[in-house]
Symmetry: C2
Subunit: 375 residues, 2 copies
DNA sequence: ACACGTTCTGTAATCGGTTACATGACACAG
DNA sequence: CTGTGTCATGTAACCGATTACAGAACGTGT
């Protein structure tokens, strides 16, 4: 841009460099060496200018920046990470990507990753453990750390796959993770609170729609339900679901078809609760007058269905954000000494009362029901 | 495991290799050289065994696999991609990750990527063009190709950033993309169909809740609305929103507050339609008896609200899947010759009639309303 | 016994960066 | 004029893989 000295850039060289570096059809991107040649400096200087490390004289910096501009050079992150041993990327291993829970989680993670200058690489749909293990393995060299959501895998299995390699933050693993860094939800306690809420409304006959078999979280919630029922002297009644809206719908239909009409339903998650809600609507059962409903998770949709769904709130996006945040400190501490304090963090779900359990709007403490009560 | 000859593995060597490669606290992962040393072969042989390329004698293969097992070696994908010039990763650049639209899209992409053996790296929250450009740049060396959703950026801007470098598939760019590979939604046509549906129901006074300023898709939908209204001799009435549920709620409230009660509302997307739905519910306006509502996108929630939302369906996940699929062939054709046929693919939204526009359930062709009518 | 072909293996260059260390230029004090 | 310290720059090793090519080992036909 006119800043160039005569000798700084040889126009014919620019031309040949720009146009000759082809193979077949496609133009090959410029490398740091091309920049160095064009700027008539060494690769070291180019690197120093671009990374900001070390000192460079002003004229040199100028020449380099000119050349970078001229070649529209962009550093090759892969090569960079090979020498620096950092990828500036974190991986997320998920069982699935279906439903609002995971998308909210990803959103939170993405936000946090972005503000930490990290990239996010997601890998989902890992049904069985060996599948997930393969995914974890394939992350080596791609990421600086991993967030693993595995309602199926147990910690031991996992540890075997990772050895001492990568910083890993466990989520959704249930409460029984041995000393690994993790964020877990108190599903058991949350379920108890939910059931106790229904009990406090005078309901005794409370059914539970359970999540998929083999899912740790689903099991914990179910156990919490059973425990709360037992403590109240009630008789547990469980129908199986799989965390999908359709399964909740089916479960509720099945209950009603058998002539069973509980006073309340506690669903293992919100999507199933919504399914149950709609099934009752179809059957002419009024909620909450005939049957009260409580879900779990507080996904965005919970506040949008009518009647709005009472639920156990997990700040999903916030939890995702927090997970990345912790992974970042974990990565930092791993490359330093490695103080592993605060191994496990527990998320305590909070009861959100909406119209599906308490019909009286006054009892909702004046929260505007239409926009939901999410902060 | 008993398969080892005496001379194949020297136990003391195993021990030292396993335990001595430390730095500070953390164990350093084994490299291909460690494996080669332990197996007493060259790195080339190890590589051949692991990649399956070239021939290796059976005893050699055995020794290598033993060593890999003993060191629990996992290849470093970053290093591999530096030599092979393939990352087996595709990047997705999004403006945001909020709402069900993007999460459905990501889900579809993830599915397709997985089945193609690719990783997915997502980068979102790019509000302005320079922000997105930086994100695109930082993808160099990380991905084999890019899917860019940019309702703001124009193609020229984009092309400048990418030069001839990376295979790029454009989405959401509006219909006016010059000859770049892209997948676009016929927002204009879709909006016309939506409005014509409302017209066919006898409504003349139809309001539109528009998407955010500067969003190409929002603008196209709005133009389609205006055009259809003009064609029918109606008077366009537009309220601004920003694609969020809350904005739809506000827009509808504003309309009602002004004493305006249209016969129908066409919202720029489903979330705003849901907001409008709830606002009317609060205000005691009956849908569809008093006001009919149609949205756009057919996000999962559209089938779950009551009344279920009529909308223009885009098979969102399917579109995401398709995008990855096309990017894959684009990458393949780029490394080969490079035949760029089928530059632009147009997704035509399909009208889904639900209860928010037609109250008569019989008219819904017996679709079970509670489970939605998604295939 | 020798030339030759086949089959397997090893050496070393390469990918595109970073960075420790060596080197060179220059100023200034003695 | 020389020794020394400072500052900027360049050289080359390295990160961890892949792979072209050279070379070793071995069998075989004459």
């Amino acid at each position: 841009m006119g800043l160039l000295q005569e000798d700084a850039l040889d126009p014919s060289f620019v031309h040949s460099t720009l146009c000759v570096r082809r193979e077949g059809f496609r133009v090959k991107p410029a490398t740091i060496r091309d920049v160095a040649d064009l700027a008539k400096v060494s690769v070291a200087s180019v690197s120093r200018v671009l990374t900001g490390a070390g000192v460079v004289a002003e004229p040199t910096r100028m020449k380099v920046l000119e050349a970078v501009e001229a070649l529209s050079y962009v550093p090759h992150s892969g090569a960079r990470s090979l020498s620096t041993n950092r990828t500036d990327t974190v991986g997320v291993i998920l069982p699935d990507l279906f439903g609002e829970f995971f998308s909210e989680l990803i959103r939170g993670m993405d936000l946090a990753a972005r503000s930490a200058g990290l990239h996010l690489i997601v890998s989902s749909s890992h049904d069985d453990a060996s599948d997930a293990a393969a995914a974890i393995r394939s992350m080596r060299g791609r990421v600086d750390g991993l967030i693993v959501l595995s309602p199926h895998l147990d910690a031991a299995n996992l540890a075997a796959n990772l050895a001492g390699r990568l910083p890993v933050l466990l989520m959704n693993g249930g409460m029984n993770e041995a000393g690994r860094p993790s964020i877990v939800v108190d599903n058991h306690g949350g379920a108890r609170v939910a059931v106790e809420h229904l009990l406090s409304l005078g309901h005794r006959h409370i059914a539970h729609i359970g999540g998929p078999k083999g899912n740790l979280e689903a099991r914990e919630r179910q156990e919490g339900y059973v425990e709360a029922m037992r403590a109240a002297g009630g008789q547990p009644l469980i129908v199986d679901g799989d965390f999908t809206q359709a399964s909740g719908h089916r479960a509720m239909q099945a209950l009603l078809a058998e002539g069973v009409r509980p006073e309340a339903v506690f669903a293992g998650n919100d999507m199933m609760a919504v399914g149950a809600l709609l099934a009752m609507q179809d059957a002419g059962v009024r909620v909450p007058d005939d049957v009260a409903v409580v879900g779990f998770d507080d996904v965005p949709i919970a506040a949008l269905v009518r009647p709005a769904l009472s639920t156990m709130r997990i700040e999903i996006a916030e939890t995702g954000r927090r997970a990345v945040e912790r992974l970042v400190t974990l990565i930092a501490s791993t490359s330093d000494g490695g103080s592993e304090s605060d191994i496990r963090e527990v998320i305590t779900p909070r009861l959100i009362v909406r119209a599906s359990s308490v019909g009286d709007a006054a009892a909702l403490s004046l929260a505007a029901p239409s926009t939901g009560d999410r902060s």
